[in-house]
């Protein structure tokens, strides 16, 4: 038995928003793989839930007329991994989603929940940072758009206002077309583990030149982050130079902490090493000559 007081099973997005307006302290539950664990741990003891578990309107992926890729926040990790549009246009997100938990968790946990938890370790977050994902937040006053980088306010804190739901994750065509990508998860185990450090790299290539670079990390700071200075310094350089320089540059920009999982120094080491490895794979995927 879970220590919860009530659950409202919303029948639509509007229904869920109305329920959240009526009960601002209610907790939204989607796949449940994080919220139910927090209830089990006593952190949400006695909570009232608004369940959006069964809202097919928020699941699935589609391309719009402008070529932008829309990902329903309720799409579970397993469906992200298997989705032909994701595999074709943003395989880096499939790679990140495949790194979450184990198969049973991936069949239930959702990409939107991964973001809304506000955890820096969320496997899909760093890839969505690198892809410049734009989130749609829908509340009683209507919808607004927010870049994913502005969604994170602090550890466990996101920009959802009372009564708001994450209703769309959008990646513009210009943010995926021509890019190769790679997500590398560093953890103690290959499965069922939280990332010690997550590294997402997107690259565009022309011959031996790295035309554009994007680097994002999870657990390199209190929230997922990009490395804009490193990106600016290495975009438009030769791959072989970028591969040599990227480790030092990202280490100057990130600020990981020591935790029981790993020390700050270890995370700095892994970040540099995995940035270089992910860059190589992303560059090759983008058709670059290494």
């Amino acid at each position: 038995m879970f220590d919860l007081e009530a659950i409202y099973r919303a029948a639509s997005v509007q229904d869920a928003i109305a329920a959240l307006v009526a009960d601002p302290e209610a907790v939204v539950i989607a796949g449940g793989t994080d919220v139910l664990i927090r209830i089990r741990e006593g952190k949400l003891a006695g909570c009232r839930l608004v369940s959006i578990h069964d809202l097919p309107e928020l699941a699935g992926c589609r391309l719009d007329a402008a070529g932008a890729l829309h990902i329903g926040p309720l799409t579970c990790f397993r469906d992200i991994v298997d989705h032909p549009l994701v595999q074709r246009h943003i395989p880096i997100l499939a790679q990140a989603a495949a790194a979450v938990g184990g198969p049973q968790i991936r069949a239930m946990g959702t990409v939107g929940g991964n973001l809304c938890n506000g955890a820096t370790s969320a496997d899909t977050a760093s890839s969505l940072f690198a892809l410049n994902a734009v989130l749609t937040l829908t509340g009683p006053q209507g919808s607004r758009q927010l870049p994913v980088a502005e969604f994170y306010l602090g550890p466990g804190q996101v920009a959802l206002q009372p009564g708001e739901l994450l209703t769309d994750i959008c990646i513009a065509q210009a943010d995926y077309q021509g890019f190769g990508g790679c997500y590398l998860k560093y953890a103690m185990r290959n499965a069922m583990d939280i990332a010690t450090l997550g590294t997402a790299v997107l690259a565009r290539a022309h011959g031996a030149a790295l035309m554009e670079l994007r680097v994002a990390f999870g657990v390199a700071g209190p929230v997922p982050m990009r490395c804009p200075q490193c990106e600016a310094a290495l975009s438009g350089t030769l791959f072989r130079d970028a591969e040599r320089l990227i480790a030092g540059l990202v280490r100057e920009e990130i600020h990981p902490r020591s935790s029981w999982r790993a020390s700050r120094e270890f995370r700095l080491q892994v970040a540099g090493e995995n940035a270089a490895r992910a860059l190589r794979q992303a560059f090759i995927q983008a058709g670059g000559e290494v």
């Binding site: 038995m1 879970f2 220590d3 919860l4 009530a6 659950i7 099973r9 539950i29 449940g32 793989t33 139910l36 664990i37 089990r40 369940s51 578990h53 069964d54 397993r78 938990g101 184990g102 198969p103 049973q104 968790i105 069949a107 239930m108 290959n190 499965a191 069922m192």
Partner: protein
């Protein structure tokens, strides 16, 4: 508080009044007596509570019973054929001695049933990944992998013959 849900469990339609606080594992074990569904960690780490929900392997400890409304649930109790014979996965587990204490077995069998049902070949590495949501504290993993691999191969051979 109770809610009425309608679901199909092991092929039988059920109408149940479930506590809103109950996990699906709670309801399957206590209300329906399906004790093949094991409660190990209850936080989605060990996979002992794995059942198929609409054909997909899911941790029933991290799944609210009220969500099962309208869904189809399969547990080990529902695997036996009409004539009483065991499922190919169950037979393979016996033949490969893939059971030690047996606590993790029902969960792994349900994941394997989904894998076998996919109707394709898996590499050993893929099977490792597909079974990575299960912990076996007897550490009998090699025999378990052998059993799942055998069940996959036999099912494919039967389908093609």
């Amino acid at each position: 508080m109770l809610q009425i849900i309608h679901l199909t469990v092991n092929g039988r339609a059920q109408e149940l009044a479930v506590d809103i606080r109950a996990s699906l594992a709670d309801v399957l074990r206590r209300q329906l007596g399906l004790t093949s569904v094991k409660k190990g960690c209850e936080v989605g780490e060990c996979g002992a509570c794995t059942v198929l929900i609409d054909g997909r392997a899911v941790d029933s400890c991290l799944y609210l019973a009220v969500w099962a409304d309208g869904r189809e649930i399969l547990t080990v109790e529902g695997l036996r054929a009409g004539d009483g014979s065991l499922h190919p996965v169950q037979r393979a587990f016996i033949e490969k001695a893939a059971v030690q204490c047996g606590f993790c077995t029902p969960g792994i069998i349900m994941s394997a049933v989904e894998i076998v049902g996919a109707g394709r070949r898996y590499t050993r590495e893929e099977l490792r990944r597909e079974l990575s949501g299960h912990l076996c504290r007897c550490t009998g993993y090699e025999n378990i992998l052998d059993a799942v691999q055998q069940a996959v191969e036999q099912t494919l051979q039967q389908a093609s013959s």
